[in-house]
Symmetry: C2
Subunit: 304 residues, 2 copies
């Protein structure tokens, strides 16, 4: 099995390095870090045990990479238009592309670009950051679930799960729509609200008014998912998400980091697209629509 | 006619000084400014012509003030519980109390404190600020409409209008519910949104997403007012408010100033009360409910 990683950052760098450390053949596309990683390798500082990869298969462009059996795409979704040119050199007829990205609709759009490619979603539950060249800081958690979108080869999906497990990554196979919407239940309130109120998860839950608001926003996502026929997304799951977040250390989601570092926020797939899907299906989410408008405003102010 | 002013700040100081400057007998309750105003008088710097009041009837407590025919209450509504003790010394059986305050429900609550007092609402459309002791800076506008709440003496209401006009204050008599809800159409979106996004009116209207959001929030207020049977509050009025705000100089509403100076915001009468009235009548305003929750969060953070 050959693995390719597009987007060797906090997420792609972590999972790719774990696989390589466990003996898999992994090919990494690098950008700013290319020269550094060629000479210094990749360092993973992890709560579960740090390690260093000395010999990294590093590339500056996908044209130089071999066709791979599995490609992990861990780009920010704001850059997904680049997949049109990035992906083809890595594809052979049976390649499985796993989109480890946030939001709703990414698989649909990538499938439209590549109608015959086999796609899966990778739903990562991880706190990690890339703060320096060639160095991933993995703070906590680390599981990643795989959801089949258009892969006809079930043995291949299972092979990826086995490879991840062999690399000490907690993983499993989950239902696609359920998994994407469950992730949205957490992502839609917390990513935006930590930006809008310039705060972290813990304070949002400590204040009575915003704790209630977060719950109402989660219930908007649950309502939309149920309206769309998605199973197992319900108020019990909302309770569990709030409980889980209560027990987490104070956390700044990726959108808050993007905002703080004046990088574009993933507004389209985390907000615009699911809001549009829900509204077209007759289930508007007014509080999350308002949050999107606030984020559009802040994005404009932030990049002036 | 004897006028009393409770709350000699940007609003009460302006209207009281205009009346006194025009020859009316006006008695001012002062707080921090008392000693300064006793020796230096009251200065009004105004876009319509500045003037100075040398001999000011200034008081430190209402017990020393005479009973008045008209009392202008221009306290922040967060201090309305103090009216219980402040108001009685100024009242005679025919006194008219004019509440120049923001929000929905202030007259109802003050009437409950003083069941027999005659009440009116004063709806000021003015940009002014008190930045130093004894000095009111009046930047623009300045009209104030009067709305009868429980005054049986129509001649007295008309007399107040005449006195205001004689003092070069633009004024008129308006219907109570219509006037309060029309004011809420502007106040509920702009007061809170300038705090939540730390911005001013012009930028909220320049950004496409927040311009639309402001309009949606205004339409929530219109919907609630119509649901409550209030007349003449409609989408044409919303268009007019947005047009008026487009033509204003960039403006920080009072709530933004309160927030910036770490003073309590008027959340109860501008948000909580009208939201509660509308919800109980079966017309929730989800986007303004979300705004209230954000403001409750910011208030808590701001006063830690």
């Amino acid at each position: 099995m050959k693995y390719g990683v597009i987007g060797t950052g906090a997420i792609g760098g972590y999972y790719g390095a774990k696989l390589a450390h466990a003996g898999q053949e992994v090919h990494f596309l690098l950008h700013h870090d290319y020269v550094y990683v060629c000479s210094h390798g990749l360092q993973v500082n992890s709560c579960e045990g740090s390690f260093h990869l000395t010999d990294v298969n590093a590339y500056q462009q996908t044209e130089d990479m071999p066709p791979c059996d599995v490609v992990l795409v861990a780009l920010k979704s704001v850059n997904n238009d680049k997949l049109q040119s990035l992906l083809p050199p890595l594809l052979h007829p049976q390649t499985l592309v796993v989109l480890i990205q946030n939001g709703i609709g990414v698989e649909e759009d990538v499938q439209r670009m590549f109608p015959n490619v086999q796609l899966a979603a990778g739903l990562a539950f991880i706190c990690s950051a890339k703060t320096e060249p060639g160095r991933v800081n993995h703070q906590c958690y680390g599981s990643i679930n795989l959801a089949n979108y258009s892969c006809k080869d079930e043995a291949l999906m299972q092979q990826v799960v086995d490879d991840f497990r062999q690399a000490d990554i907690e993983t499993g196979l989950v239902e696609y729509h359920e998994a994407r919407w469950k992730k949205a239940v957490w992502n839609m309130p917390f990513n935006g609200m930590t930006v809008a109120l310039h705060t972290q998860t813990d304070l949002l839950l400590k204040n009575k008014a915003t704790r209630r608001l977060i719950r109402e926003q989660m219930m908007e996502v649950v309502g939309a998912a149920q309206h769309l026929g998605v199973k197992n997304v319900d108020s019990a799951f909302v309770d569990k998400m709030i409980e889980t977040t209560d027990s987490m250390t104070p956390y700044s989601p990726s959108m808050r980091l993007d905002y703080d570092f004046h990088r574009p926020m993933e507004l389209y797939y985390i907000y615009t697209r699911p809001l549009q899907i829900a509204r077209e299906a007759g289930f508007p989410m007014p509080k999350l629509e308002m949050l999107e408008a606030e984020l559009r405003f802040l994005e404009e102010q932030n990049n002036r």
